[in-house]
């Protein structure tokens, strides 16, 4: 699971859960895969994301070094920043671990890089 995906996941469909966002990450195995850097691509992705959630997620798994907590106005011209964003969004992968719903504490295992967000019918609202 890449952190770009974590940014998009919520457990709000659980019964009794209001926002279910962001999910907490506990990683037991992290990999960093090299991905070709495309500054335009990263610039386009950033407005679609919740940056604060991304920063906290990166920080919680020890990969926030050098990453600013807030986005500057001219971020798309700052190549060094885009490189750092590229790394946390696309290169850092949580291979094994689990995600936790911030409200209910329900855990979602991550196995072979794939989060298991399956719910039983009784759990869904």
């Amino acid at each position: 699971m890449k952190l770009i995906t974590h940014n998009m996941l919520t457990s709000k469909c659980l019964k009794g859960v209001l926002t279910g966002y962001p999910l907490a990450i506990k990683a037991t195995n992290i990999k960093v895969n090299e991905v070709d850097f495309n500054p335009d691509f990263i610039s386009r992705i950033i407005p679609k994301l919740d940056w604060e959630v991304l920063w906290k997620a990166a920080d919680s798994i020890g990969h926030s070094e050098g990453l600013p907590q807030t986005i500057e106005r001219n971020y798309d011209e700052d190549k060094e920043f885009l490189k750092k964003a590229h790394r946390v969004l696309l290169e850092v992968e949580v291979e094994e671990g689990y995600l936790t719903c911030p409200e209910s504490g329900r855990q979602f295992p991550i196995t072979k890089g794939i989060p298991n967000m399956l719910l039983t019918e009784a759990e869904v609202q």
Partner: protein
């Protein structure tokens, strides 16, 4: 659009995951036919729901290197296969083992693609997590499709497009009417007769 390499897939895995067939290729052909529209949209995020082998979303990712692709499947083995198909074809993609789109935040996807379980079956046959989930569609072959239709306004971005494969038995006109009530226009992109099945791909957009 190019067809992704599949030589990495162990044929035995198709006992557990839907093997690409005419419907998968019709969906790729539909996307290819609609390329000018899609290119003009410059999609940032694409999602294939129930990606199976991953061939469709990977073909999309190959044609759109500046789009980040996501996929879901209820079957974990399908998730693994989608991920490996994307990696083999050098496509950036992340996959989540999920029932349809139940755990995504709202309105992020610019393109959503779905080749549903469309075979008309008993309700009891539909709702599993294995290979039967790839084809058993319940009443009218629409039980799973209709659940996703309800979720489309919540997951599609404001100017997003949704591509859906159906067969004539699914009563496409009813689907068009259901989506029209939600404020979506529709277009038939492509149709094809495959043995006893009349397959088609519809596009929905605002």
């Amino acid at each position: 659009m190019d067809t992704p390499y599949q030589s990495h897939i162990n044929k035995n895995d198709f006992d557990y995951v839907y093997e690409p067939a005419e419907d998968s290729f019709l969906l790729i052909d539909a996307l290819e036919k609609d390329l000018p529209y899609l290119k003009a949209k410059e999609p940032i995020f694409c999602l294939e729901v129930g990606s199976g082998s991953g061939i469709v979303v990977t073909a999309f990712g190959m044609a759109f290197p500046k789009t980040f692709c996501f996929s879901t499947d209820i079957n974990f083995r399908a998730c693994e296969m989608t991920l490996s198909t994307a990696i083999q074809n050098n496509v950036l993609l992340d996959v989540v083992n999920m029932n349809l789109v139940s755990c995504f935040v709202n309105n992020k996807f610019d393109v959503v693609i779905f080749n549903p379980p469309y075979v008309v079956t008993d309700t009891t046959e539909c709702g599993g997590c294995g290979i039967e989930a790839s084809w058993a569609g319940g009443v009218k072959g629409r039980e799973v499709t209709d659940k996703l239709l309800d979720a489309i306004p919540k997951i599609l971005s404001p100017n997003g497009a949704f591509y859906l494969l159906l067969i004539k038995d699914n009563i496409p006109l009813e689907v068009v009417q259901l989506m029209s009530k939600k404020g979506y226009k529709s277009e038939t992109i492509i149709t094809r007769q495959v043995r006893n099945e009349q397959q088609l791909v519809l596009k929905f957009y605002k």
